[in-house]
Structures are given as C-alpha cells and as structure tokens.
C-alpha cells in the first residue's frame, strides 16, 4: 500500500494550512478591531486556572472575536476564508483514504496536486480580501477609537453585562445574526446526517456495484499473468492441481511457460507454483524415456542451485518412482520421477518440514 506519498502530501498540506492560518488570522483580528497583541493578552489573561487552555484556545477565542466585531458581515466573511484554507488538507485526508481503499492510489499525487492548487487559490482570495480589510481598518487602528485590550481584573460586575467597544465595521442586525446562527447550526445537522448516511450506504453500494475493496485478493503477478489458474487437462495433473489448491496455493496451468523452460521435451501438461520462495513444478511428459533424462538433468540442476556445504541427500528407488532430495541449511530441493511425471520443487528452510510431509503424504518419501 503506497502510504509514502499519501503521508508526504498530508504533511505538506498541514504545513500549508498552518501558514495560511498564520497569514489570514491577522486579518480576522482586524475585522474584530483587535491586534495580535490584544489576542495574546486576552488568551493569557483568561488562561489563568485553565489547565486545558491549549485545547480550548479556538473555542474561547472565536466567540470573543465575534462579540468584539459586533457580528459584522466582514468578520464572518473573513472567518469563512480562514476555515476554507484548512479544507484542502481535510478533503485530501478523506479522499486519499477513499482512493487507497478503492485501489486508485496510483493517482493520489494528482489529488495532492489539485488540493495544493485549491489551497493556493483559496489563500490568494483570502489574502486579497484581507488586504481590503487592512485598507479599510487602517484609520480605525490609527484613530482614538481603538484602545488596546486591558484584561478585566474585577469580575464582580459581570463581564457579560458590559457591551463591547464598537469595532471598525458596522454592527450586524441582532435578529439577522440570530437567524444566521440558527441556519448555520441546522445546516451542520443536515451535513452530519448526510455524512452518516453516506458512510452507511457506501459498504452497501460498493457491494451492489462490485467496487474493488482491500478485501479482494490482488491480481496474480505479471510474469505469469497470461496463464489463468484453471484446472489442467490430464487426470494426474488434475489431481495434483486440486491437491495444491487444497493446501492453499494458487497453482497455475503453465504448460506454455514450462514448454519454453524445457525446449525439446514434449509435455502434455504442466503445473507451476511460485509463491513466497516456494517453487514447484509438476510435469506430465508424453514419453517415459524423456522423463528419465529430464529428471537426471533436474537433479544436476538442483545440486547447482542449492550449492552449499554438506548437503544431506536422500535417494529412493522404489518400484514405481525415483526420488532425489537434497537438504542444506538454505533450503530443501527434490526431484521425483514417477513414470512419465516429474515433480520438481525447492523451498526455503522454513518450508522444509512441510515439504517432507507433503511428499510423504503423496506416497514418495517413506520416512522423514
């Protein structure tokens, strides 16, 4: 799962969101008629006795700014820009997870690029609007109307009874403000319902439309993708195919590929397993004489392949079959020639015991 680019873009977009917040919040403070220093003073003066101040910073700051701005339209517009600049990072996180789930992760950098472009556009719009705010509030901050924030030390009179000093912009209609707040709250409720319904509907729809999910097995590797795992033609091969499938492998009917591997040998069937270090070939030849010579060749090949110190070799010549097995510290390899069929397999050390049991179960390895 390509998590790397996903995380890199999340990290980049988080930093970009931080940058745009840092730029745009100064303009938001301007619409509320306060400066960065005033905000810092306010937060410090109210942080006393608040053990979780860092968590509720925004929660305390935003209503304060709203009241100081006199619920002016400029404040709401600017705060909307501030929030929108965080939107690309959030959207990217959600959409990126969705893309990984539906296996579209190759295009995740396209999404990341689009979100960075969206962030740039939104921040540019926000800065343009902020510059306008800055121009309109410049005389307010120069005039005597602006007074730096003094923390209230005496709370006995009740801080909520005093009306806030008028901000730089015309105050909004209280009735209109209430209505707007109501509408916004209701819109958020509807959004919550829609999101919940979408999350409930998504698994149902994906099952109905048969969208790929992580639970579907990935496709076979490209090297053998031309051969579909179908049952083989001859009865011996069919038996072996079923047996291997029973053991949890995905055997391939690889007659074409194995004919290319052994030119000059006429095969009537071939099964190939190549999974996690385990390599197993099951060949059904047309002539037994060819099988004998091929088994000899494979035995020599095995000796070269698992070339290691002190191989423990086992050889069995029973009436029906010839077995040659070679065990080293690196792994286990075996060639079994049974009439016109050949079983050729090698596996890493941790599969050795299983392989021996498997051969014994097939009736080849008499003891292990």
């Amino acid at each position: 799962m390509p998590v790397g680019p996903f995380l890199i873009f999340i990290f980049a977009l988080s930093i970009l969101s931080y940058v745009s917040n840092h730029i745009l919040y100064r303009y938001l403070y301007m619409t509320a008629g306060v400066t960065f220093e005033d905000v810092r003073t306010y937060l410090w003066s109210t942080a006393e006795g608040n053990r979780y101040g860092h968590r509720s910073r925004q929660r305390r700051l935003w209503p304060w700014l709203e009241v100081r701005s006199g619920h002016s339209n400029e404040f709401y517009t600017m705060s909307r820009y501030c929030n929108l600049c965080n939107l690309p990072a959030v959207l990217y996180t959600l959409a990126g997870v969705a893309m990984i789930v539906v296996r579209l992760s190759d295009y995740i950098w396209v999404l990341g690029g689009a979100m960075i472009a969206l962030w740039a556009i939104l921040t540019l719009l926000g800065v343009m609007y902020g510059k306008r705010i800055q121009g309109e509030t410049a005389d307010y901050f120069d005039s005597s109307r602006y007074k730096p924030y003094q923390p209230e030390t005496d709370h006995s009179s009740g801080p909520y009874d005093q009306p806030p000093p008028p901000g730089p912009f015309a105050a909004g209609d209280p009735e209109e403000v209430e209505r707007r707040r109501f509408r916004r709250g209701y819109a958020r409720n509807i959004l919550v319902v829609i999101v919940v319904l979408v999350f409930l509907a998504f698994p149902i729809l994906s099952r109905k439309l048969a969208l790929p999910t992580v639970s579907t097995p990935p496709k076979a590797s490209t090297a053998v993708s031309s051969q579909r795992p179908t049952s083989a033609g001859t009865s011996e091969a069919q038996t072996m195919y079923d047996r291997l499938e029973q053991e949890g492998f995905r055997p391939l009917n690889a007659l074409g590929q194995l004919s290319d591997t052994y030119p000059g040998i006429s095969l009537s069937d071939g099964i190939l397993v190549d999974e996690e270090g385990m390599h197993l070939e099951y060949l059904v030849l047309t002539e037994e004489s060819q099988a004998q010579s091929l088994a000899q060749g494979l035995k020599n090949q095995l000796a070269d392949l698992v070339a290691a110190q002190n191989p423990q070799t086992t050889a069995e010549f029973e009436d029906g079959y010839t077995l040659y097995a070679q065990e080293t510290e690196g792994g286990y390899g075996v060639v079994v020639q049974d009439g016109a069929t050949i079983l050729y397999a090698y596996c890493p050390q941790y599969d050795t015991t299983w392989m021996k049991w498997f051969l014994h179960d097939l009736g080849y390895l008499s003891s292990f």
Binding site: E178, R179, R181, F182, G185, Y186, N189, I190, V192, V193, V196, L197
Partner: protein, 136 residues
C-alpha cells in the same frame, strides 16, 4: 443453564439505558415546545412553582395537548425500553428458545437509537421554531 446471553443482554441494555436518552432528549424538549415553552420558560416555571409537576402543567397550557402527550410518552417509552429489555433478559437462562427474540431486540435497539438521533438532528430545530417562535 447458559448465562452468557443474559449477561450480554444486560450489559447492552444498561448501556442504552444510560446513553440512549441523549439520542431521544429532543423528544422531551419537543413536548415542551409543542406547549409553546422553551427550555428557559420551563426552567423559570420550575423555579417559581417547584411543587407543580412539569407534565400536567404543560398539558394544561398546551395549545396542542395531543402532540405534547405524544412526544412526552414517546420519550418516556424510549428511555424505559432498555429497562424492559433487562427484565426480559432474566427469562433467557430459563427459556433458551427466546434467544432469537433477544437478538432481534438488541439489533433493533442499535438501529432504533441511531435513527432517533438522526431524526432529532433533522426535526428538532424547525419544529421548535415553528411552535415557540424562538431559535432554541
């Protein structure tokens, strides 16, 4: 005697008894709103005449008493349902065949409280404004 389903049933019902009222609290508040009273009005009345019970007072002053009663009893029913489930659960060790009803009941409760919560998000604000003329 198999106690496992009895224990599971009791735990889940207790959970819903404690948490489920947050999903259907809006029904109780709509009962007050259908009488034209906001939460602040009800609290004011309760502090002025603490002896009087809320629901008879609401029914007396309500311009739509049927809806007031409907929402009130719906709220009472939904907050009592898990307790009924716990009472029903006592039978489970003795009547194993009723296990299937218990499972239906538990599954239904999960869906029911979720749906009630979502309905509250959609219905409460408009109805409250319509009956009281006030935003919350």
């Amino acid at each position: 005697m198999d106690l496992s389903l009895f224990i599971i049933n009791t735990i889940i019902c207790a959970m819903f008894w404690l948490v489920g009222r947050f999903c259907c609290a809006w029904l109780g508040r709509l009962s007050e709103a259908s009488a034209g009273q906001t939460l602040r009005d009800v609290e004011q009345h309760a502090s002025q005449s603490p002896q009087e019970k809320i629901f008879p007072w609401l029914m007396r002053i309500s311009p739509r008493p049927k809806r007031t009663a409907l929402f009130h009893y719906l709220f009472r029913f939904l907050t009592t349902l898990p307790l009924l489930g716990m009472v029903f659960g006592i039978t489970l060790p003795f009547v194993p065949a009723w296990e299937v009803y218990a499972r239906y009941f538990l599954n239904t409760m999960f869906v029911l409280y979720g749906v009630v919560f979502l309905l509250g998000l959609l219905l409460f604000d408009p109805l409250h404004y319509r009956w009281t003329g006030k935003y919350r």
